[in-house]
């Protein structure tokens, strides 16, 4: 998938002589074996859910006859993951810096409710409901408000010298109160029509098959260029380049993943009712086999709606929040790996004293990282409220736990200094897969909570064991 693009491992270093062939190959190609393990676990979970749902309710049309490995479910799964995934990319940097942010959930509530109030109660009446500027103002406002709150946290932590655990624990309690007061507890709805598209709720909020393929092609070329420039850079600084076959493999596998994902999201066809409404509104003739009642085209074929709308099937393509998630993942990976800011974060997290002595302004760095975290919470708040088409105080509650858990499952070490953006996104996807899969099987949420908790602890256990072996 898309986030494999900047793949580079932290498993480099001298090869020991007693390794097996496979391991040597992995090491030569500098593939993050930890990541490989996670992807394998993810795949196992997916197949498991599909098989189990096939047993429980056959005929779901999935790869193994269930309803989990269907384009529809995978499409929704990606959308469901995006809110947590966007925030978790920031949480990685916060944790790498040996800090924590417990306030992200409450912060999301504040930003979502404030943005909702702004667009529904303020901008709606003054500019007129549906004015094209509303969503732009709302988006900028949400990100700016998130960044401001994050900066406030950061200043208290860096310059007030209060532990981040305390500052953000205070924030967790206080911000949810603020969220309540802003709208005096009422649910703010509905959101602006254009703003709503950012939530990816339904096929209309996606970019369609053509642009999805264009994007996939661009991504493929991007992977090629990135691999090539990585190779050049190594030669320039007289580092040993990866073997050619490894670079070719990276491009081929990366490209295949991108194209495969694109094929999946494109093969999710518009739900019949949505297609029908679209056809009616845009005067597209609906093929025969459709009854016409009271001037409205109503498809009454029940489960056979798709055949009844044959010739009127629309492919969906990438949902907007998933594109946002992928873009955030790319930018954050770039920031973490290729910028001085990113390297300072990892240096400070690895050894704060040494970094400070080396001239890193750790206080300013802390403020910047928390500001970035806040801005990302702003983006998540936009997606969450747009998706629900409403802003409520309950939005975001307990999200801090899922965000931290996703980062940790993704291999971020709470001791600081270690963590990857793509790992955290896969961590978020893994956790959402568990939750969605169990909901699909109609499992009581109590059991889901138990499983997610066990997986969190198990992931860290396996990770520790793995790291000890690598050492």
């Amino acid at each position: 998938m898309g986030w494999g693009m900047a793949e580079q491992s932290n498993a480099g270093g001298p090869a020991s002589s007693n390794e097996g062939l496979f391991r040597r190959l992995l090491r030569a190609a500098e593939i993050d074996t930890r990541m490989l393990g996670m992807l394998a676990a993810l795949l196992l979970i997916w197949v498991g859910f599909d098989v189990m749902s096939a047993i429980l309710r056959p005929g779901g049309g999935g790869l193994f006859g269930g309803s989990f490995l269907t384009s529809r479910n995978l499409w929704i799964l990606l959308v469901q993951t995006s809110v947590i995934a966007v925030m978790t990319t920031g949480m990685v940097l916060v944790i790498v810096l040996r800090q924590i942010d417990l306030s992200v959930g409450s912060m999301l509530s504040v930003v979502a409710v404030a943005t909702g109030v702004l667009q529904v109660f303020e901008l709606g009446p003054t500019l007129g409901v549906g004015h094209p500027a509303i969503w732009i103002i709302a988006v900028i406002f949400a990100i700016a408000l998130g960044a401001a709150i994050g900066m406030f946290n950061g200043v208290l932590i860096a310059y007030g010298q209060i532990p981040s655990f305390i500052v953000t624990l205070g924030g967790l309690i206080a911000f949810s109160g603020a969220a309540f007061l802003i709208a005096s507890g009422v649910t703010v709805a509905p959101m602006d029509k254009t703003f709503k598209l950012i939530g990816g709720n339904g096929p209309l909020a996606s970019i369609g098959p053509m642009w999805s393929w264009v994007l996939a092609a661009v991504a493929c070329v991007g992977i090629g260029i990135a691999t090539l420039s990585g190779r050049r850079r190594r030669l320039k600084f007289s580092f040993a380049p990866k073997p050619v076959w490894a670079d070719v493999l990276t491009v081929v596998v990366g490209c295949a993943a991108v194209l495969g994902t694109t094929a999946v999201v494109n093969s999710y066809l518009w739900p019949a009712r949505v297609a029908e409404r679209f056809a009616v509104e845009n005067n597209i003739p609906i093929p025969a086999g459709v009854e016409n009642r009271a001037g409205l085209a109503i498809c009454t074929a029940g489960d056979k709606v798709v055949t009844c709308l044959d010739g009127l099937s629309f492919q969906t393509g990438y949902p907007i929040p998933v594109l946002i998630m992928l873009a955030v993942g790319l930018v954050m990976t770039f920031v973490a790996r290729r910028t001085r800011f990113g390297r300072y974060i990892f240096a400070t997290g690895g050894n704060p004293e040494a970094a400070e002595l080396a001239g890193v302004n750790t206080k300013r760095l802390t403020v910047m990282v928390f500001t970035l975290m806040g801005a990302l919470v702003g983006i998540s708040a936009i997606i969450a409220s747009a998706r629900l088409d409403a802003a409520t105080t309950a939005l975001g509650t307990l999200n801090e736990l899922y965000v931290i858990a996703a980062a940790v499952i993704g291999g971020t070490s709470l001791a600081g200094g270690i963590g990857t953006i793509y790992g955290a996104i896969v961590g978020a996807l893994l956790m959402q897969s568990l939750q969605s899969g169990m909901a699909l099987l109609n499992v009581d949420s109590a059991y889901t909570n138990i499983v997610v908790g066990i997986v969190l602890v198990l992931a860290v256990f396996v990770d520790q064991a793995y790291r000890r072996r690598v050492k």
């Binding site: 749902s53 309710r57 005929g59 779901g60 049309g61 309803s67 269907t70 529809r72 479910n73 929704i76 469901q80 205070g170 949810s176 109160g177 309540f180 005096s184 507890g185 009422v186 649910t187 703010v188 709805a189 509905p190 709720n201 339904g202 096929p203 739900p271 019949a272 009712r273 949505v274 297609a275 029908e276 409404r277 489960d303 969450a384 998706r387 629900l388 088409d389 409403a390 409520t392 105080t393 309950a394 939005l395 509650t397 307990l398 939750q435 969605s436 909901a439 699909l440 099987l441 109609n442 009581d444 949420s445 109590a446 909570n449």
Partner: protein, 347 residues
Amino acid sequence: MKFKILTLLAGALLMSATSTAVMAAGKTIAVSWKTFQEERWKTDEAAIKAVVEAAGDTFISTDAQGSAQKQAADIESLISQKPDVILVVAFDSDAILPSIQKISDAGIKSIAYDVQFEDPNALYITFDNVGVGRIMAQEMLKVKPEGRYAFIKGDKGDPNATFLFQGQMEVLKGAMDSGKVTNVCETFTDGWKPDNAQKNMEQCLTSTNNGVDAVLSENDGMASGVVAALDAQGLAGTVPVTGQDGDLAAINRVALGTQLVSIWKNSIDLGTVAAKAALALADGADPTTIEGVAKFSGGKNGVEMNAILLAPTPITKDNIQVAIDAGHITKEQACAGVAAGTVPACN
């Protein structure tokens, strides 16, 4: 630490405020709220306060901020202010019992307001929660006498979620036994959260391949998530959804046709009835003589209590006017985006 100081400060403020009031004679009615994080309790407080102050008596209150420990401390501080009656909205209906005992020991009357705790000496005042579930199912059966039903239940830790489901099942039992109504999905929703309800509904629709004809959502917040999930499949408006609380956005959905009914528990009614009962108890009235009191033993442990169970109002397309007339919602809020001529109250 921060909390303790805040509590002490709040306590001190309350003490100074009430000491003057107590000197002005009359009775004192106290309320221990479990949390002010929900819109509705403000309405309750305003209603109780209005009745108490109109009678020339004193109203005091504390907010437990969603913590059973803080609520225990709150009640101790209320007892020390010697009110005549304490209304308690219990955060945890078991953990509260020792505090209720302390209230009785101090010779103060207690009222279980909206949330039950099983103390035989207390008066329990609430809306008939099992009744709310019954009304939801009845309204749904009117439009979908047969079909595949999905049940989006509230938080598993809240007894109300189960009461509501029991009520729904009582009404649906016949139709389910005869096979007319089938249960295709049934999930609890962590924290009654709308976004969790949305995800659960999405998974329900995926697993049944959109084979859902009716959704019994236990409140309006979750109904907003359910409607969003249905909307993504183009089913909003064709699959009826229930809810309760009379949320402003939900009443608007009822008018728009994407939600079938919102069972409205008029908090003003509940607050007014409770305040009147509290004043009567403060006068020394026998609880059984208060209007509307009957025996209730439908709680977890079956303890028999004196209770007033109020009947809620189902708000559908046809009677939105009721909520507008009560000042609960404006016509503009209720009718936003509604096509002319579809809803009587919006014309």
